[in-house]
């Protein structure tokens, strides 16, 4: 029995194979088997957990905007008492939004979503190639890649500046937050979305700093991956807000 068995067991992280005599496993448990070398807190598990947490968190964000949407629709439909004529009338004045500027902002945000996706795939590839790179003598050629993360931050900040310009234009048109129900709810939607986007920018800056702090590549990958899905959702949310204001302004 002098055969050398190459130590190349490839484990599918999702496999739940268990040794003989062990009780049957009943799915669901995400902890992996206790005997596994990577332990309950492998990066794969942590990534999956973080993604799951993000999805659950986004449900909460959706509910906040469900609340605002129902306010918009109800408030748009409800009549108001006019003190001069003592009659009920609709007091909803459609808000005059700078559509061209908003379209530019939308394009900036969508492009940022694309750069974010490149950043996400880039770091996923780096993580996948890390074992290969550690083999002496193996080179993967030019490793300089485009700064996708930085581009996303710049584009995201560009979107926020664009939103500030939109509010500037609204103010010039005398649409203030208390001018009427249509401008109130528009400011609420813009403001809440912008706040959420600021949170995303902070997450991206944290991810960028994490690379300077020599955090493990896999840990950075989790931050960037989750931030990317969050960022895509913010782009989707913006499209929704845009469409909502287009239809029911």
């Amino acid at each position: 029995m002098a055969t050398v068995t190459p130590n190349l067991a490839i484990r599918d992280p999702r496999s739940r194979d268990i040794g003989g005599g062990s009780p049957p496993s009943y799915g669901g448990g995400g902890n992996g088997d206790p005997g596994a070398t990577n332990g309950p807190f492998s990066y794969g598990d942590r990534l999956r957990r973080a993604r799951l947490g993000l999805v659950v968190g986004l449900v909460a964000v959706v509910m906040i905007f469900v609340g605002f949407t129902s306010v918009l629709l109800v408030r748009k439909g409800s009549p108001s008492l006019d003190p001069q004529t003592n009659t009920y009338a609709r007091d909803w004045v459609p808000i005059n939004l700078p559509w061209a500027l908003l379209v530019v902002n939308t394009v900036v945000l969508l492009v940022s979503s694309i750069t974010m996706e490149f950043a996400r795939r880039d770091i996923a590839r780096q993580v996948a190639l890390a074992p290969v790179k550690s083999i002496p003598g193996v080179s993967l050629g030019d490793e300089k890649s485009f700064p996708w993360l930085g581009s996303t931050v710049v584009l995201g900040l560009g979107f926020l500046v664009g939103q500030l310009l939109v509010w500037q234009v609204l103010r010039e048109h005398h649409f203030f937050v208390n001018t009427g129900p249509s401008s109130s709810i528009a400011y609420v939607l813009f403001g809440t979305h912008a706040l959420h986007l600021v949170g995303g920018v902070i997450a991206l800056i944290y991810a960028a700093i994490a690379s300077l702090l020599h955090r493990p590549l896999e840990a950075r990958r989790i931050v960037i991956d989750v931030a990317a899905w969050y960022w895509h959702f913010m782009a989707f949310l913006w499209i929704y807000i845009f469409a909502l204001l287009l239809i029911a302004r």
């Binding site: 206790p34 659950v56 003190p83």
Partner: protein, 579 residues
Amino acid sequence: MATSEVVHAHAAPQGFIRKYIFSLDHKVIGLQYFFLALTAVWVGMILSLFMRIHMVWPNADLPLIGHIQPEAYLSLVTMHGTIMVFFVLTTAPQGGFGNYFLPIQIGAPDMAFPVLNMLSFWTTFIAFVIMLAAFFVTGGAPLHGWTGYPPLSAIQSAGPGEGLGADLWITSIAIFCAASLMGALNFITTTLDLRAKGMSMMRMPLTVWSWFITAILGLLAFGVLLSAGILLLMDRNLGTSFYVPLGTINGQLTSHRGGSPLLWQHLFWFFGHPEVYIAILPGMGVASQLLSTFSRKPIFGYKAMVYAMLGIGFLGFMVWGHHMFMSGMSPYSAFAFSILTMSIGVPSAIKTFNWLGTIWRGRVRFYTPMLFAVGFVSLFVSGGLSGPFLAQPTLDIPLHDTAFVVGHFHLIMGVAAIFGIFGATYYWFPKMFGRMMNESLGKIHFWFTFIGTYSIFMPMHYLGMAGQPRRYSQFTELAYLQHLIPLNRFITFAAIITISAQLVFVVNLFWSLLKGPKASDNPWEATTLEWTTATPPPHDNFGGHTPVVHNGPYEYGVPGAQRDFVMQSDPAITPSPAH
């Protein structure tokens, strides 16, 4: 390639601050929530004592607050309700016991996101401090009730407490919403992703199911309240008109116009009704756990219990309109809300009958936790049966603003949920602190509380039928209520005695904490995973290994087993061929 650094989520912290103040350990955070709720419940109870005394002796000078003006009475009503609902009934069962025992019961070393867990507690703490601060600002605490109906809550000049006090109140609620959302996110992710091997969803203890479903309700409900609260703050401070119609306040025309107070009511109760189940569902889970453990019998109809809780949670989102029958809603929508509300009786009855079926012919051990579990079922039935009455608009409209409603919701949401908390405290105290609580004091506490709360809230149903309005500061001068004064006095005396009896609980709690007899690892001979580990549990819950689950959560009295209970991590029970 794998670095050893990440095998453990985090090592046990050393310093006092990292260990007990800004701890990442779900057990410490659970205790922090528990003691926050214990503080809050005393504040809320003292406020209710002031109210009760003021109701029967309106001219009395009370300690701390002196003579109570009508506005101050409304402040008491508001703050009592808010503190009890948010900082006791939402905080203790979910944040406290859920945090401590959900990870252990599913065999996890910690919550999925420990840092978020810590943030969630400290945000709740900040919300509580802001809420208490409302007492001490100019004008005092707000008057608008825990439901915060506009226009009263939306106009700064509407009353003495509606200035800064109301702003603090809404800010506190908004912060609490954010904290609860963080908590819900953590609970859901932990339950879905961190279960030990073999812990399938249908092997989870019913407590875990109840915390999980509660977290889903919180996730869907608190976001809506948060958005509604932000808009209310804008109405108050930025001059918008979401909720405030044109009108006069103190003879002056307001600058608001066109807003809809009903809009707030819809948004609030879309949160508010699920909130009722957020308070009571963990109690249901605890009652199931305790009734099964102390009857030495498997829970009757485990799957039915799970589906009933899911059904209650699902229906709970479609019945909010039954709080608004008085608002002049269309009879057709009132009818729909009424039918849906009464249909909640079906899963509730399933649960009740299954609890009774669990005790039936069990070898019942009447320890204090079991007494509170039985008390929970009793209060759930007594408080729940008046639900179908109030679910009908024709009955709700005359009863809505009376003491009948006060009796109803205190029995089912207040006291029943509190009995769940008490049962959980007596049951898990040995695991949390390594010592047993005193049984005699516990039984004294139970009987005083059980008889006392019934004496307080049962007569309120009669008072309500007799026409006593709620939220009135003074009614002793009203001729038609004269004959009710003796009964009101009785309620006040019962309240004083019941609140005093809670001192027995506090004494028992702290005395047992220091001097109680040492507890074994499994003093109740229970089956779930928390009883397999050391007492109190080590930092990573199971001392370096991950439990493997082979059995369901309530395997008591298994034929052929050596003991009358088979723990979840024991070797699998071989199913008999008859299955």
